[in-house]
Symmetry: C2
Subunit: 280 residues, 2 copies
């Protein structure tokens, strides 16, 4: 089995490592940056590299496009142009409607692994990054079922949990499960900076809840601006929902409604306990 990986950052590099380690696949990698290609080869993430995607996908059984969301349409288009007839092509973008609508090709199945680190780049890549992580698959109306099933089996062998879902539902879900937590992390950081008094200018005065909630605030601006832009409508709705819930909480606070506050916390605690009853 030959796997092509286009874009060797944290996610692409981790796919390459997992494919070699878990699938025993021959992995051909490419990256726009030649020093990254060299590092991937030297570090054992890939068996060989090519300077272009067109070359990397020659003879591949599967191809993963792991470039930032903003560059996906061009990169996936180039891969589909050169990939073999029976090669399943997927991506790892955080939003799915735009890319799935743009690629009406039976070989293309959108994808999105729910894994990541606060660090980016090949040097943080690891073969176990996707262990037990949900990996959303968003086929289009014309995607080949045979190729979808091949991709699903491949990801299961890698250790992930493939979950087939339509692109619309995916984007609504990640607006709440991923994009909104990132927005809130940024907002909390900005509020903290506006509130800290002289002599308290560092995180040393913050407890663990603040540090956890703001861990992702430093995520790369260019990448996330594209993610937000391709999911602007769903994310705006998620923000609207959050504002309404914050307003209701604020009203309970201001009107001195302790029972309302207790209920708010208890309902959330119950919901969390229920959500936790999953495999991870």
């Amino acid at each position: 089995m030959r796997i092509a990986v286009i874009g060797l950052g944290l996610i692409g590099g981790s796919i390459a490592l997992a494919a070699r380690q878990r699938l025993g696949a021959e992995v051909v990698g490419t990256d726009i940056d030649p020093t990254i290609r060299e590092a991937a080869l030297a570090g054992g993430a890939v068996d060989r590299t090519c300077p272009t995607a067109a070359e990397a996908v020659q003879g591949a059984n599967a191809a993963f496009v792991a470039v930032p969301v903003g560059g996906l349409p061009d990169a996936v288009g180039a891969v589909l142009k050169h990939a073999p007839q029976e090669c399943v092509v997927s991506d790892v973008g955080s939003t799915k409607r735009a890319i799935v609508a743009a690629q009406a090709d039976p070989r293309f199945v959108g994808g999105h692994p729910m894994a990541g680190l606060e660090h980016s780049g090949l040097r943080h890549a690891r073969g176990d990054l996707f262990d037990d992580a949900t990996w959303f698959l968003t086929p289009s109306d014309v995607s080949s079922n045979t190729l979808l099933e091949r991709l699903r089996g491949l990801l299961e062998t890698v250790g992930a949990r493939p979950n087939v879902i339509d692109a619309e539902s995916h984007d609504r879900l990640v607006a709440v499960l991923s994009h909104l937590p990132h927005v809130v992390a940024n907002v909390l950081i900005l509020q903290a900076e506006a509130t800290l008094s002289p002599g308290l200018q560092t995180f040393s005065s913050a407890g663990p809840s603040f540090r956890d909630a703001t861990r992702v605030a430093g995520a790369p601006a260019e990448i996330w601006a594209d993610i937000y832009a391709t999911n602007a409508d769903k994310l705006a709705l998620a923000v609207e929902d959050m504002v309404a819930r914050l307003r209701a909480f604020q009203e309970a606070l201001r009107s001195g409604d302790p029972a309302g506050i207790v209920t708010f916390i208890e309902v959330a605690a119950t919901a969390r306990a229920r959500l936790e009853q999953g495999p991870r």
Copy 2:
């Protein structure tokens, strides 16, 4: 040196352990629950126990009241009534204005360690819980400077970073650094539950940013309702500030303002980097 600890939960138990391990103090503990007193003695958190605070503080050089915020006024009052003339009395409540205003006694200095776990209870107590953690001290106008300095030295020896601040500033700060992250964790959980579709009813579909941001959502409702109630005005203002920032972000999203989004993320990333330049 003899230290009295009133309330042997996660924080009280950890103070007791740290006082024995780091100060070599004789620790006398009490708790309203006799089984907790026995467990503290059996587990080596305290040298001995007493059934009441009045007995526990006899001959003490310092007393820590580590009961939930709702029970603080009564508990601190009882300790001050029975503590020796030269005993410094402090608490560990998450809000400071109410308790500091209620106790006009030279021996009382409000306190609040910025440490904690998502778990509560004596069995999670550990002597290193406060290592490098900020420990706010909020003296009142009548607090003895001598006793404040004794308390500060004691906490430094325990491994914490004492930080003297007025109760008003403290409450404004923790509204943003602690209370708001808890509220947001609850809101995110409720939004997730309202958004997840059948077949995706668990955390397994959430990435690490969501799990981190919602880790504290299961915190005990009774304890947190009291904390919020004693800081309702500051917390309502912090919510107001968050809503305004979310609205501005939402407006940038809806108007398709990529530069505004990039700036929002970059300013937050810069602020985070600056805040991180602290000891922890």
